[in-house]
Amino acid sequence: MRYLPKSPADRAQMMREIGCKSIDDLFAPIPAEYRLNRDLKVPRQMAESEIIDYFHSRADANAAGYALFLGAGAYHHYRPVVIDAMVSRGEFLTSYTPYQAEIAQGTLQAIFEFQTMVCELTGMEVANASMYDGSTGAAEAMLMAVRLTGRKVAVVARSVHPEYREVMHTYTQHQGLPITECGYLENGRVDMADLEKKITSDTACVLIQSPNFFGTIEDVATVADLVHKKGALLVVSIAEALSLGIVKPPVEADIVSMETQSFGVPLGYGGPYAGVMATKEKFVRQIPGRLVGETKDKDGKRGFVLTLSTREQHIRREKATSNICTNQALIATMATIYLTIYGREGLKELAAQNLAKATYASGEFAKKGKVLFAGAPRFNEFVVQTKDDPQAINQRLLEKKMIGGFPLRWHYPELGNASLWCCTELNSKEQIDAAVKQVGQ
């Protein structure tokens, strides 16, 4: 096998030195009745050229070169080529978790920069080295709020991504942590009155998403006031992180859980992405996941290390803040490179372009259907209610090599023939106009 650096002679010599006659001597510890005496049922060994051909065929069976109007938790933005050029370097790609700091300063400094940028973007004081994704991060943020408050109920806005809410349920089901949901208003924002009712003295935290699943930007400050008045914590989940280029950061939140996919991470049919959790300094000892900290070496030289690991499973075991070990380091590195490329001005300009595209598109769609949730600001997503069934519209679009919005009926039956559309810098006016045509009157 071409990956294996051994010749038959090498193997023979090694066995001689070990003193075993056949390789199966080494597998003697496996009870005979459990040894597999046949080939595995996997495809035969392929040449590299065949592997390339195989995946070309798979890729060709997927949409390619389609105009995409889907967001809903996964966003298509342009990925500068520098990102892959850098993360493809073996020193980043094939390095291990940086426990041995003296030969892992590259990863450690990059993640320290990631943590810093996440703080700058979210307005929080500390951020961790990454979570699996935005959905698991949001779930772990709830558990963190429970540890911090000692309270045992959570309130989640229905305008939070439905799949995020499902993950929260999965994570909390055996923690004796009931989750109550809170509705949204005509303008798409959290129903404050309903929220006020739902929050009790047992409420550990309220979790909202902004921009929320409808693309509406929440009034975080007002929500925070209410939540804090009730002695609960506010967790803000961010799915479209690029919004932070022009949207006020949720500084009033106690914990921010963010999905960083928008920052140069390929859509990749849903993963790998990278979540990240940010919070106030005073809460840092309850944050899950790895943290990179600055320190000095013997000669007083600046260096970076993984720190506060007494929170983690390899030290604390069942008392750890989370069971997470492997995280999404390389994806966090991608995001760091992306954020470095666009930087202070570029993120603003790019976010503004997204806003302009979505504003134009929603204006055009408004001529063919009803754009819901007016009256509150949006970023790059909007909900359109149509006469026709969204599925039918999407079928028409598909024939024109366009992928339409995300139908909402399944998760929000009350919205009827509505679907969630997304327009980013990658959607040309031409594409938008073509899509609108298909919506019909």
């Binding site: 595995l40 390339i52 980043f92 994704d133 006020k248 506060l308």
Partner: protein
């Protein structure tokens, strides 16, 4: 110490580089946007109170500086592409480049998770084919690819057990976990609402079956077992273990982190395991990327299938694939979308590159390498357990400790010899553990260099312990103050710190 004794590495000039924020200066740009083809929108007007003032200390630099910044940083890292990682339990094997290439094919890399099934058949087929391969490799009946890593897989697996036992009327209270287990095991049990009960291992480094029999009862949901265990020892009484659990209505969970010792040679499904996870970033060669991403598929027996996270991929009569969301008994989602798909692509590419013969040879070479190292180092380092080793071997520092040299010191000294250290002080059952897993990816030459280095360090520990205790000596930063870092945590750069920065 003179570099002369060191065969594998030499010091060489290496570029310094500050934090990216320290390079920032207003007006530098690394981006340019295409002209806007729709009317501009004043975001302050549009967003009103929700509009952002500015982006604070986000950097402003040029593309050239970015390339230099990250290229320089990268040269401070050790990596598989540079040399061996004898990291026990981590299976740091070769990450083939073709995996990276196919994972970036636009049709796969640019696929949106919600794009219609008729234009997602390629992606679904990758997941289905990988699933089928993993099922035959593990000998299981059903699988989910949704978990993002091993620990995430553990949680998924324990949730399956919980749901199954619940459906039988009682989820039970406890999970048994051997003292040699990885930290994620107890942490996972806790997240799933189970109390953890420790299980002693016997003098041969295996589960003490009589102790198990004594501890097993109707309060126990099951056992989380790693096999081969974290001592690299195959649990020879595995089936007795399974029987004891099953008799009392419990289930056997297997942590598949060590599957690199078993693929193609034996199947957990055949020796009594009910549910297990795989680490695609270990056994199936997806790159570790400095800490992740990984992927932790969970495979289980028929009885647990109804409880798998949703959606699950189903093949229709017409041969097309679809996601089935109608799973009333499902434990729910453990992650949005379908898991770390990019890792599924890579793991399948690895499987296709190997085929049945390659996978078997891979396992055999991994076990051969570990036993070669064991044989060569036996005299120089103490071997706490005499049981035969599979894919990894665990020594202890007890000989060197007499001179005050600890496993952590030996590990740091290995860096000077051009190696990444082995896994330090894990598993906990071995005091001062030196845990070495070479994987199949190492040549005899590389193994011999490790053996020479370990022997040389053993000598140094005798003759010049201070040399070892102060290692590393050849790195751009010397041993770093981890205690100081934890005492006053500095977790982000701040403008104030700037001058201090340089």
């Amino acid at each position: 110490m003179s570099d002369k004794d060191i065969k594998k590495a030499t010091r060489h000039v290496n570029q310094n580089e500050g934090l990216i924020f320290e390079r920032s200066s207003p007006g530098k740009k690394a981006y340019r946007l295409a002209p806007l083809d729709v009317p501009e929108v004043d975001y302050n007007k549009a967003l009103g109170a929700s509009a952002r003032a500015d982006l604070g200390n986000m950097p402003e630099v040029s593309e050239m500086e970015i390339i230099r910044h990250f290229t320089r940083l990268s040269t401070w890292n050790y990596a598989i592409d540079l040399g061996m990682y004898p990291l026990g339990s981590c299976t740091m094997k070769y990450n083939a480049r073709v995996n990276e290439v196919v994972a970036r094919f636009p049709g796969l890399a640019n696929a949106h998770p919600y794009q219609p099934a008729e234009v997602s058949q390629g992606a679904m087929r990758v997941m289905k084919t990988l699933s089928d391969c993993l099922l035959d490799i593990t000998g299981m009946d059903a699988i989910t690819l949704q978990p993002a890593a091993g620990a995430h897989g553990e949680m998924t697996g324990i949730l399956l057990m919980h749901a199954y036992l619940q459906s039988k009327g009682n989820p039970r209270k406890k999970i048994l976990i051997p003292d040699s287990a990885h930290g994620t095991n107890p942490a996972t049990a806790a997240i799933c609402g189970y109390a953890v009960e420790n299980l002693k291992s016997n003098s041969r480094g295996m589960v003490d079956v009589s102790a198990l029999a004594a501890q097993m009862n109707e309060d126990v949901a099951g056992l989380m077992l790693t096999n081969p265990n974290t001592l690299g020892i195959f649990e020879q009484e595995i089936h007795k273990i399974a029987d004891i659990l099953h008799e009392k209505g419990g289930l056997l969970y297997m942590d598949g982190a060590n599957m690199n010792a078993l693929v193609g040679k034996t199947r957990p499904g055949d020796f009594g395991v009910d549910v297990m996870h795989l680490n695609l970033h270990k056994t199936f060669s997806t790159p570790h990327g400095g800490g992740g991403p990984g992927s932790g598929p969970v495979a289980c027996k028929k009885i647990l299938e109804p409880f798998l996270p949703k959606p699950v991929i189903v093949e229709r009569a017409d041969g097309t694939l679809a996601f089935d969301y109608d799973r009333p008994k499902s434990v729910g989602r453990v992650r949005m979308f379908y898991g770390n798909f990019g890792m599924h692509v890579r793991a399948l590419a690895y499987t296709l590159a190997n085929g049945p013969d390659g996978l078997r040879q891979t396992t055999e070479d991994a076990v051969l390498n570990a036993n070669y190292i064991r044989k060569k180092l036996e005299g120089d380092y103490h071997l706490p357990y005499q049981s035969p080793s599979m894919h990894e071997v665990v020594f202890s520092d007890s000989i060197q400790e007499q001179k005050g040299v600890k496993t952590g010191d030996i590990a740091k000294r290995l860096i000077d010899y051009g190696f990444h250290p082995y896994t330090v002080s894990f598993p906990l059952v071995v005091h001062g553990a030196i845990m070495i897993e070479p994987t199949e990816s190492e040549s005899v030459e590389e193994l011999d260099l490790l053996v020479d280095a370990m022997k040389a360090i053993a000598r140094e520990a005798e003759e010049d312990p201070e040399l070892v205790k102060n290692a590393p000596h050849t790195t751009r930063v010397k041993r770093l103050d981890e205690t100081g870092a934890a005492r006053k945590p500095v977790l982000r750069w701040k403008p104030a710190a700037k001058s201090a920065g340089e």
